[in-house]
């Protein structure tokens, strides 16, 4: 079992209709094993009372659900307008040429992370990071350096 039955029951019970538990249960499965496995899809389908094929279809719609376990260190670089204007594409290209990319760490692109004041912004595993420099990003991917500090807040104070 990927999901814990008691926790599953608790999540299902939160909603007026149990099919609403599909996304939260998929998230829970991904937190547990790093990705959404076929077994997890079956468990989610059974718990939420929808066909497994439909859960599977839902998984392919949302970009954050993974069907394979990712490397331990994973940087998702925003490539939307503000970040692209700040050089996101070139940054991604250079990071992808680093040795170990794909095996030890992953460099992916994402669309706008709602951190445009920190262009180039990124998600390092689950933490928002930015502005990203080549050196800073490379250091993150090497050993996770620099993420211990909490998320920087940009010019929010006004």
């Amino acid at each position: 079992m990927v999901l814990h039955p008691q926790e599953t029951a608790e999540i299902v019970a939160r909603y007026p209709l149990r099919r609403s538990a599909v996304l939260p249960l998929l998230w829970r499965a991904q937190e547990r094993i790093g990705y959404v496995s076929d077994a997890a899809i079956g468990e989610v389908a059974a718990a939420a009372g929808v066909p497994a094929s439909e859960v599977s279809s839902v998984v392919t719609f949302y970009t954050m659900f993974r069907r394979f376990a990712p490397p331990a260190r994973r940087l998702q670089v925003c490539r939307s307008l503000a970040c692209a204007m700040a050089g996101a594409d070139a940054l991604v290209a250079r990071l992808r040429s680093l040795p170990g990319c794909g095996s030890e760490f992953a460099v992916e692109t994402v669309e706008c992370l709602a951190a445009c004041d920190r262009a180039v912004a990124g998600l390092y595993n689950e933490g928002l990071v930015g502005p990203l420099s080549m050196a800073g990003a490379a250091s993150l991917l090497r050993d996770g350096g620099g993420v211990a500090a909490p998320v920087q807040t940009g010019g929010e104070r006004g």
Binding site: R14, P16, L17, R19, S20, A21, V22, L23, P24, L26, W27, A48, V50, S57, V58, F61, Y62, T63, M64, F65, R79, S80, L81, A82, A84, M85, A86, G87, A88, D89, A90, L91, R94, V110, E111, C112, L113, A114, A115, C116, D117, R118, A119, V120, L123, E126, G127, L128, P131, L132, S133, M134, G136, V151, T153, G154, G155, E156, R157, G158
Partner: protein, 427 residues
């Protein structure tokens, strides 16, 4: 003019702590509403405030609530925190920095229209926001502010955080409802509108995070007070996100009706050194570009529309003269092609096609016919031809750029290429 109704205390105090929030007067509105006002009285204040939806459409929240049919069915509130429009990042700040304001807004709003179940939908990428909001909800529950018999009253309210998982389209209200129902985020056919048949087919209100955050202030100070702030037809404040080629990118809460020039030149510090403004995309990547001659436009729903663009969620992307209008179009279209849900033909097929043409054009491999082709595709995708607004969003900037900067498109079609965007140099 800066006026901090929603952002008050952000950056100064840890408002995510319920003790701090309460010490600064937090949850007074919830107490006032639940203990001393009838639901109809709260609704009346929100109607009087003329609080217009901050998600972009600007539809008055009080009127939206009044559309709920009085047929005894359960009603739901879904708070749209799917903030995904490139350029917008004010909701994330409110969620992370002042989560209790949002929770209090949810309590006041739900009480006003008789709702006992609210879902705050956060985009999946807001890991931090979800943790902070979950903690805030737990604190509020422990303090008897949400859950059964709020503040000892007969009123009960359940509030859930529901996370998306990577889909811009879920910011569209009917796609958001589908996503809460555990489905692919495909927009629904409308009518019926959510007020009549929303979540699980029940009457549902969908309001943006910032809209809901305005409700406690209205309850505390009255609708008339709110209606007196800023532009008469767009009262209140708007948290504007500024990014791009400005000295001080950030969120700035301004009184509605503040000139765009003040935001860009004063608060955001003006264009970076040695450069001049070329254009602003005032409501993110989906808005028509505004050229420097429009800088004196007032920031409110009507004035921005009159100036040929929109206030939207006020995610201002500022571009200086080094920016290539074709490149911006390509980056934007790449986004929309990636985020099209695929349900309807023009958006699914059209955004991909436009992206492919722009890739060629940007690389100097276009043909002169491509400019007319792009204009034609803007018409084939835009103008309300798609099932949901994403189709229009996908070609709004492009359409404006083809008008304002046609020469750049022609130059690219004739083989010109712009210098590549420089690599990141910031620390």
């Amino acid at each position: 003019m800066i006026m901090r109704l929603l952002t008050d205390g952000i950056g100064e105090a840890d408002l995510a702590d319920i003790g701090v929030y309460r010490a600064r007067g937090g949850y007074r509105a919830a107490e006032k509403a639940v203990k001393t006002m009838t639901p109809a009285e709260v609704s009346a204040e929100v109607v009087a405030a003329n609080l217009r939806g901050r998600g972009g459409a600007g539809f008055p929240a009080g009127r939206k609530w009044s559309f709920l049919p009085n047929d005894g069915r359960a009603r739901y509130l879904c708070v749209n925190g799917d903030e995904s429009e490139p350029g917008s990042y004010s909701n994330r700040m409110l969620i992370e920095k002042s989560p209790h304001l949002l929770v209090e807004g949810v309590i006041c709003s739900c009480y006003a229209f008789g709702c006992n179940f609210a879902v705050i939908y956060l985009r999946g990428e807001f890991y931090e926001g979800a943790r902070i909001l979950e903690k805030a909800l737990a604190e509020a529950a422990a303090a008897g502010l949400v859950g059964e018999h709020i503040l000892g009253s007969e009123y009960s309210l359940k509030v859930l955080v529901h996370r998306g998982a990577g889909a811009y389209i879920c910011g569209e209200e009917s796609a958001l409802l589908e996503s809460i129902e555990g489905k692919r985020g495909h927009p629904r056919v409308r009518p019926p509108f959510p007020a009549v048949a929303g979540l699980y087919g029940m009457p549902t209100v969908v309001n943006n995070v910032e809209t809901i955050c305005n409700v406690p202030g209205i309850v505390n100070n009255g609708g008339a007070w709110f209606a007196g702030i800023g532009s008469p037809k767009s009262p209140g404040t708007k948290v504007c996100s500024v990014s791009g080629h400005v000295r001080r990118p950030g969120n700035y809460e301004l009184v509605m009706g503040t000139p765009l020039r003040e935001l860009i030149e004063e608060h955001a510090g003006g264009i970076r050194d040695g450069h001049q403004l070329k254009m602003i995309l005032p409501a993110g990547a989906s808005s028509a570009a505004m050229t420097p001659d429009k800088l004196d436009t007032l920031l409110d729903f009507d004035a921005m529309a009159a100036a040929g663009s929109m206030l939207g969620s006020a995610g201002m992307i500022v571009c200086d003269e080094t920016t290539c209008a074709v490149q911006v179009a390509l980056i934007g279209e790449r986004f929309y092609a990636h985020e099209s849900c695929g349900k309807c033909t023009p958006c699914r097929e059209g955004t991909k096609w436009v992206e492919k043409v722009l890739v060629r054009l940007e690389a100097g491999e276009g043909r002169i016919q491509d400019v007319d082709l792009l204009k034609s595709l803007v018409g084939q995708i835009g103008g309300g031809k798609c099932l949901c607004p994403l189709g229009d969003f996908a070609v709004t900037y492009l359409g404006s750029a083809l008008r304002l900067f046609e020469d750049e498109f022609i130059a690219h079609a004739q083989g010109h290429t712009c210098s590549r965007i420089p690599e990141v140099v910031s620390a």
